[in-house]
Symmetry: C2
Subunit: 404 residues, 2 copies
Amino acid sequence: MALIVQKFGGTSVANLERIRAVAARAKETVAQGHRLVIVVSAKSGVTNRLVDEAKALHPTPDKREMDMLLSIGEQETIALTAIALQAIGVPAVSRTGGQARVITDRSHTKARISSIDGDEMRERLKEGKVIVVAGFQGVTEDGEITTLGRGGSDLSAIAMAAALKADVCQIFTDVDGVYTADPRIVPNARKIPVLSYEEMLELAGSGSKVMQSRSVEFSSKWGVVFEVRSSFNNNPGTIVKAESQDMEKVVVRGVALDKNQTKIAISDLPDQPGTAAKIFTTLAKAGVNVDMIVQNVGRAGIVNQTVTVPTDEAYIAEKAINELMVDLKGRITACDRVAKVSAVGVGMRSHSGVAATMFEALAKAGIAVQLISTSEIKISVAIDPSRADEACRVVHDAFQLGEG
Amino acid sequence: MALIVQKFGGTSVANLERIRAVAARAKETVAQGHRLVIVVSAKSGVTNRLVDEAKALHPTPDKREMDMLLSIGEQETIALTAIALQAIGVPAVSRTGGQARVITDRSHTKARISSIDGDEMRERLKEGKVIVVAGFQGVTEDGEITTLGRGGSDLSAIAMAAALKADVCQIFTDVDGVYTADPRIVPNARKIPVLSYEEMLELAGSGSKVMQSRSVEFSSKWGVVFEVRSSFNNNPGTIVKAESQDMEKVVVRGVALDKNQTKIAISDLPDQPGTAAKIFTTLAKAGVNVDMIVQNVGRAGIVNQTVTVPTDEAYIAEKAINELMVDLKGRITACDRVAKVSAVGVGMRSHSGVAATMFEALAKAGIAVQLISTSEIKISVAIDPSRADEACRVVHDAFQLGEG
């Protein structure tokens, strides 16, 4: 007998039929002798509708009132899910974030969980009840309703699993698991059975948006084993857990693609200490998330700096840099969309030649590499977006990820 | 400066435009120097939609989960109303029933308020904030969400006014106030400026469904002065308060009509002690609300009993009585729809001849009276439903209620 936390997102509870499917799956889990906590999101579409209503009344609605408003989405789902469970003979009880004692700080719309008191829930579980908890929401010490921001329901589930010392947290979603590459782009991509937190983070950070990084980091911190799996079938998904020795046998676990990057090249910067600091401080103040950074020294005393930023922040970044150039005397020489292709795997730590294999494969295919950046378990290249899908397939093949 | 509680029902907050109107009215009230608490219902239609969803999942959904589900209706409205207030520069903050410390018993879907702790709200009011409270809902001592049943938002407002010792509780609705008769039936009906709790109760109990009796009783018990007025205009409404000497000057305050009554006549009952008790115990067990009761002794040793019940309970009542007749040997001789016309006024206590005036007027119009029942401040007659509207006008005229 295990204690399992199952999390269902908005599309998995979008209507009564899907809620019934969630209940049926829970019934199976209980029939196998497990204790069960279900964490649910708002029905897909509900949150957007509520945001639209609020914004029709006020361009920048008060965050405390937004949390009051948005939290009703999950509250609807927990009640309906509990009723659906009871309808098929499964004892169940719902809990708002506050009732589940998910205590957060006071940062409305992006609150951080400070603690979860699982005592009351443990009692209900002992009574054989399935507990249906509202994801995405919590409560401050003094009873104010808060929400956790984007991806908050995943975070709720992971935190719940940590608090209750659950054996596993199953994240049900509209994908089957984490793949060696996006199967729509790389037809022979395979589902990855087991993955380390770090690999998951690098894959997520590089465009495979199965889960928010924050939830993965939280899992890693609290040692919560989670499984990403589909709510539409019974296939085993991808298990994500702490790195173990045998994980290093695989050099590259997967290939990630991010098409939403823009490269900004700055030339003719003075080769002085503090130049780079000025650029990155300016970008940070403007709220721009810099991804890849490459610097090289050109003619004597002149430095060239290239960064990539999310495309939707490129305009702000360009503006901020141009303002800075008045002082620094450099100039932007390019601002082009690029695609970032990354190979990720903890095996890189103990295997050499990974970069060589990757660059060779790209060169063979005639794909020019514009930028390179590396971390301990990742190699990323920026390339022309028109060759992005091809580059993915090339790298995927180079590491034989499509083979069983 | 007064402390005012304003309550807006579902039609008054049905959409964003109406919520803006509620906010605008609140702004006026605040501009006049008053402190303000607003109690709102769910948008009209929302509660029904949620009930339908729950019933699609389970024919008799768990009451605790229904409260969890239904309470989101008001939570949406309070957040939107607070945002609408902030949008026009009025400092405002929303409170769920639980946050407003509306503590109830555990009777889910029909909970009773046991206390309201107004301390926190008083602090917010002192800060100059308008507090927007979710009507219809409360919370048990251990944090379970409860709802108060039909008319619960009125009750919330009255209870809030009592707890905060408000000067007045304004109940905004889709009618202008309480009228001497239904203006759709009696064209010269006039709005009643002031009314006693008892008169309001008798008028409400006799078909003028402006407010649930429970809320009026609560107001009377706690001495809350309330005003029924329209959310669509600025006309003064009807003030309802404790009876005062000068109210007795008016003999009849208003005429009420209830077309939803069915008369059940039982004949040939044995004239034995306990016969009536058996009938009313049986009806009470069947959940039937008996209204008028008339008993007369016919031939020696035989009793005839006639009752009126709400028409939608007539079938159950008839069935229950028929089962009882196996023992009692009586028989149902009639089961017909009737209309009940009532004249109500505290002045009846000190004026004689009221019944005579009423019966004379009806007789003159050729309207046969089938049953009569009286209370200290009310005289009711059951008549043929086809003459109901006419009877209303006749009684209204007999007491000169249409004259200024």
